[in-house]
């Protein structure tokens, strides 16, 4: 019998299953990211509805749902980055690199469970908004485009940070402060139009800005703007993913945890 090199698809499947198992064995961060937005949407919706009363109830509901979605999906980057950092602190990454698996396969297998989590988080928030607070979704397909593009962008950013930073404390700073900053600049906490002038000027630097724009456009049923904003997010994903793949193919720096 001849033993051929294992098929790349089988290797990715094997590794993705393994990574999913690792994520589910330490579910605290995942549960936290899934529950927190629902609580905040429920408590803060009246405030947003009142603040945007001139635009109607839907405007307030849309703002709080998309805002919490963007903010907590940015915070969920910690799950992606921690998944990579732990491979470094456990020194298991080099063990995987010593197998016939390509760097791209290792990366894809890391990304798949994280991507599923990011889609799940967004779908849960949207479903909660629609089911509980009557969020109007004129074209679900547009929303899927926006959510998918945002998930790719998050995945790229999270992987690049996880591959570049050296310790959990560095990751915490990047994800917590960076997540809040990008959320706020993107208009997730306060509508972008209400931000100070200087913040409005630099808001497009934040990927959260383009996520908010894409989601808002999708909830208004505007195909053109949705696709444009989603394209920006995909470009962000491609750039960050390239950095991550380059860094990981050269071997990850040893963690400062060691």
């Amino acid at each position: 019998m001849t033993l051929t090199l294992p098929d790349a698809g089988l290797r990715v499947t094997t590794l993705a299953r393994h990574n999913t198992m690792l994520m589910l064995r330490e579910p605290g961060a995942v549960i936290s990211r899934l529950v927190q937005p629902l609580v905040l949407i429920t408590l803060m919706r009246p405030l947003y509805v009142a603040a945007l009363a001139r635009d109607g109830v839907q405007a307030g509901t849309s703002q709080v749902v998309t805002g919490m979605l963007v903010m907590f999906s940015l915070l969920a980057l910690s799950v992606v980055g921690t998944g990579i950092l732990t491979e470094r602190s456990w020194r298991t990454w080099d063990r995987l690199r010593a197998t016939p698996a390509r760097a791209g396969e290792l990366l894809a297998a890391k990304a798949l469970p994280a991507f599923a989590l990011l889609i799940l988080l967004q779908a849960e928030v949207i479903a909660f908004g629609a089911g509980v607070f009557g969020l109007h979704i004129p074209d679900p397909a547009l929303l899927v485009v926006a959510m998918t593009a945002w998930a790719f962008a998050l995945l790229g950013i999270g992987t690049a940070l996880g591959a570049t930073l050296r310790s959990q404390s560095e990751l915490n700073v990047a994800y917590d402060i960076g997540g809040l900053l990008f959320s706020a600049l993107g208009g997730a906490l306060i509508p972008a139009a209400e931000l100070p002038g200087w913040a409005r000027a630099i808001a497009p630097v934040s990927p959260g800005y383009w996520a908010m724009e894409a989601l808002r456009s999708a909830l208004r049923g505007q195909a053109g703007p949705t696709v444009r904003d989603a394209a920006v997010l995909v470009a962000v994903a491609a750039a960050a993913g390239t950095v991550a793949a380059w860094r990981m193919s050269r071997g990850l720096p040893r963690s400062r945890l060691l």
């Binding site: 001849t2 033993l3 198992m21 064995r25 298991t92 080099d94 010593a98 016939p100």
Partner: protein, 289 residues
């Protein structure tokens, strides 16, 4: 384990060439496997003139070593001599500044994946997933080595038995004792029979049971035709394995031979002297080796 002309392993768990069930692929002679890629007279591992520089320091400085099928080479040397860097270069984890490594005739830089498919590596430091069980580790690394279904299950059963892990197969690695972790790590490197085994100080801190189990499996694999690089500080282990000894000093091999040929006095002198003060002598020894 056989390898075809492209470096693809052709001996499977179903048809191994060693001490397990071997219906078709039996060895022709000790130390040689049928259909070995580079011919029985050529080494499975051939490393020539490796140079690796870290922050201006030459971790490898003309490191040259070859290992034939069925041969166990005990790689000894003081800390910092280049043993681990050598293993990392062979496994493709770091790229050398100069020199070349061939595994089964395959250049590890030009064809890294095909070359890695021919080797099993056990790194010096224990690297396991704390929340994954022993069985899950074996399944993962067995599958990545290309084992599937029945062959994977059989390989898992075999290595679990050989490394005395039956009682802890369902336990997470984070709950294992030090010896059990060592055995689990070695089992993940040994689960698939490979033409080349790189074992980097696999018994450091290990209890006698772990050491005995590991040495038995290594000897078994060498009898089956695997080339083994066994880095260690424990000379009695090399005597037990009947290994030839290669002494690394300051990033290169300075002596090679059997334990009897090298003599304990000379080995002691080689392993304890300063690489700086004896640099000239090292070079002379390297030429002689």
């Amino acid at each position: 384990m056989n390898i075809d002309g492209r470096g693809t392993p052709t001996g499977t768990r179903e048809a191994p060439t060693g001490t397990r069930e071997a219906p078709t692929g039996t060895r022709e002679a000790p130390g040689r496997t049928r259909g070995a890629p580079a011919g029985p007279e050529l080494p499975v591992l051939a490393a020539e003139g490796l140079v690796k520089i870290y922050a201006g320091r030459r971790a490898l400085d003309g490191f040259t070593l070859s290992v034939a099928a069925g041969e166990i080479v005990g790689l000894v040397g003081p800390n910092g001599a280049g043993k681990t860097t050598f293993a990392e270069v062979v496994a493709g984890l770091v790229r050398p500044e100069a020199g070349r490594v061939r595994v089964g005739g395959l250049d590890t830089v030009a064809r890294p994946r095909a070359a890695r498919a021919l080797m099993g590596m056990c790194p010096q430091e224990t690297a396991l997933y704390p929340s994954a069980t022993v069985a899950e580790h074996l399944r993962l690394f067995g599958a990545l080595a290309g084992l599937r279904r029945a062959a994977l299950r059989r390989a898992m059963d075999d290595i679990t038995e050989q490394m005395d892990l039956n009682g802890v197969a369902g336990q997470p690695a984070g709950l294992l004792s030090g010896g059990q972790r060592k055995r689990t790590q070695a089992a993940t490197a040994l689960i698939a029979e490979r033409p080349l085994l790189l074992l980097d100080e696999p018994t450091v801190g290990a209890d006698p049971l772990t050491r005995a189990k590991l040495l038995a499996v290594v000897a078994d694999r060498a009898k089956a035709g695997a080339a083994v690089v066994y880095a260690t500080h424990y000379l009695p282990e090399l005597a037990e394995l009947r290994a030839t000894v290669a002494v690394a000093q300051a990033g290169r091999i300075v002596a090679r031979g059997t334990l009897a040929e090298l003599s304990l006095e000379r080995l002691h002198r080689l392993l304890t002297r300063s690489p700086v003060e004896d640099d000239e002598e090292n070079r002379d020894d390297a030429h002689a080796a």
